[in-house]
Symmetry: C2
Subunit: 390 residues, 2 copies
């Protein structure tokens, strides 16, 4: 068995076509809504004097990254080396890998990218949470004459990566500062991912309150140890107003706000935040109609279900529908309240995916429309540059 | 915004390398185990005088499709037009789209593919479940002088696509036979997807027993109406021994048996079936170690969780670990029974994904190894030709 060339991807739509012509299942972005979401976030960050560094793990697209930088973002966050490479290939020069990398081969790619961005006048940053991670990074950086910004990740409550708050963070910051001139201690990575999808505003506020106490204790220790963190970066779409209110964070990293998803829409709305609109949709088509249900062509290959099933858009005057997954290629639609009319064979059904990040990762292209999903036109077909990037 | 060229995919491994060298997260196939699984299924089908038409929606790879045909499969099933095109591009000539297609643009592709396969001495088949579906298909087939095999899908219990058992199937078969010389009534598509993952053998047998009654009533009606179905196709990895025992089905369509997954391994083993081995693994690396947990680099982008979380392979003498998803790029590992040793930073952790089909769909390549995942070598890097194909 040998490597085969890739089958070329067929495009689901062409620029200028009506929304009606988009072949299904397709991932469609309402650009007007996304632009409004972006403008609201930029205004929020400016008002609170926060640097905005949106997380590109959500859209995985250099095109949307450039849009964010043009609107005022200072750079982008990414979660993998491959995402950083894809964004750099698309012209983004200021990137922060908000994750730990310990593979020697990947760290060589990190060093190479740090060099490339330096030549272009940009900057690469990365997170670490162990002395061995610092050592491996320092060894890889010997291959270049670039300097990489290194953030100490602190576990402020998510229970995933990160050193414990306090002394461990100070020790790691000192190690970074003394280990190599190629490493620059850049600050703290402090993200409470577990708080983003708590349903109630009060719960989210409380979770970030606890996180902020842990972060502040750590920050004070670093300041006292003459290792004051130049930047404290973190926060997500569910909680960023609370991080802002704490006065501790200097940079925010929200991703989902641009497109939104059904799971964030299920959160209790926080009046301290701007209101974001759904801008990401799966266009599907009814391919079968049974006695009490219809079947559309959107299943596990069209949208991720790790944060719940998609919502079905209900046009005015039509029966609200409930979505049940029917496998990789099928969604089963039933009237939400029992009665009503099912959509007919061939009809379009629009879904709001449960979770934007892994949904985008299932698609090669974002079909970008203007004028809304009901009656708009295709403005662009944007590649998901970092789909599957590792 | 304009279309951007794709970023080239980096390969995670090269042919001939040790398994140790495979970059993570990677989807790895144990070819020895997959070949044994295939041989067992071929023997089962031969013994029961059943045509074996494995479902390529699972592996999405023409290379594995060719392997199945060489071993004795009569052709492949696919679930989308794009999967059929990808398999045809890879040299497979006998394909059955076991799903309804109603989009006019897609039906043009169906007609074009039917023509292409005819020229090559092959044959295309498709399922329908509505008079309108037959009409749309007939109109598209006017564009060619090929004949397409048309199966009437009967809903024998899954509650997804398909006409109701009985009279509706006869009416649709008659419509196919009289509507156009380009359509040939080929038989019944009868798949009980809902029975595959019932945990107990008795439950699965009972579900297929009910399905078989519905199918038999339908078959008798067709025979009495002079529309005897030439082929009755269906069955999956969870139940195919029961379909075989019924004597009704003439062709079986299992997919997962080749690679297997954690969810099928959680089924009570059926002594009427050959035993299949896990052959599909995610190789991951520990990137962070906390107080009571370790974090590996495999999350929602590495494996699908619609049928449950991955199992962690426990090498002899090592602590059995439990996997919790930590987002798109992270898995959180804890000792299964509380105590024991966590894997160290940089160590390899092997996972058995919950569900093979949507997991394969997340990857561009299958890294195929010989000699097992613990100490083998890379035999091939096989593209997932039909990843995302629609």
């Amino acid at each position: 068995m040998k490597v085969q060339p890739e089958t070329p991807e067929r495009l689901r739509a062409l620029i200028g076509q009506d929304v009606d012509a988009i072949e299904t299942p397709a991932l469609v972005v309402d650009l007007d809504a996304a632009n409004r979401n972006l403008q609201r976030m930029v205004e929020f960050a400016a008002k609170h004097r926060l640097r905005l560094r949106p997380h590109a793990k959500m859209h995985k697209s250099a095109e949307f990254g450039r849009l964010q930088l043009q609107a005022g973002a200072v750079g982008l966050c990414v979660q993998t080396v491959g995402e950083a490479e894809a964004m750099a290939a698309g012209g983004i020069n200021d990137l922060f890998i908000t994750n730990e990398v310990v593979s020697v081969a990947k760290l060589r790619r990190v060093a190479s990218l740090a060099h490339q961005l330096k030549v272009r006048g940009g900057q690469l940053a990365i997170a670490v949470d162990s002395a061995e991670g610092v050592e491996r990074l320092a060894q890889a950086m010997q291959l270049t004459n670039a300097v990489i910004d290194v953030f100490v990740e602190v576990d402020i409550g998510q229970g995933r990566c990160g050193v414990a708050p306090g002394e461990a963070a100070l020790q790691l910051a000192r190690l970074i500062a003394r280990r190599s001139a190629s490493l620059r201690f850049a600050g703290l990575q402090a993200y409470q991912g577990g708080a983003q999808h708590l349903r109630g505003v009060a719960e989210r506020r409380a979770a970030i309150g606890i996180a902020a106490e842990r972060l502040d204790a750590t920050r004070r220790l670093l300041v006292a140890g003459d290792m004051a963190p130049p930047v404290i970066s973190g926060a997500g779409t569910g909680t960023f107003a609370h991080e802002a209110a704490s006065g501790l964070w200097t940079e925010i990293q929200p991703g989902s706000f641009l497109f939104m998803d059904a799971d964030y829409l299920r959160n209790e709305r926080d009046p301290a935040q701007p209101q974001f609109e759904p801008a990401l949709f799966v266009k599907s088509q009814v391919i079968s109609v049974g006695a009490g249900h219809a079947v559309c062509d959107a299943g596990h290959k069209s949208h991720a279900i790790d944060s719940g099933l998609p919502m079905v858009l209900a046009p005015p005057g039509q029966t609200p529908l409930e979505f049940a997954n029917g496998g990789d290629e099928h969604g089963v639609l039933r009237p939400l309240n029992g009665g009503g009319t099912l959509p007919a064979l061939g009809e379009t059904v629009w879904l709001i995916p449960g979770h934007c990040d892994p949904t985008v990762n299932l698609h090669d292209h974002l079909i970008v429309v203007r004028g809304g999903v009901a009656a708009g036109r295709v403005e662009a077909v944007v590649p998901v540059d970092a789909r599957g990037a590792w």
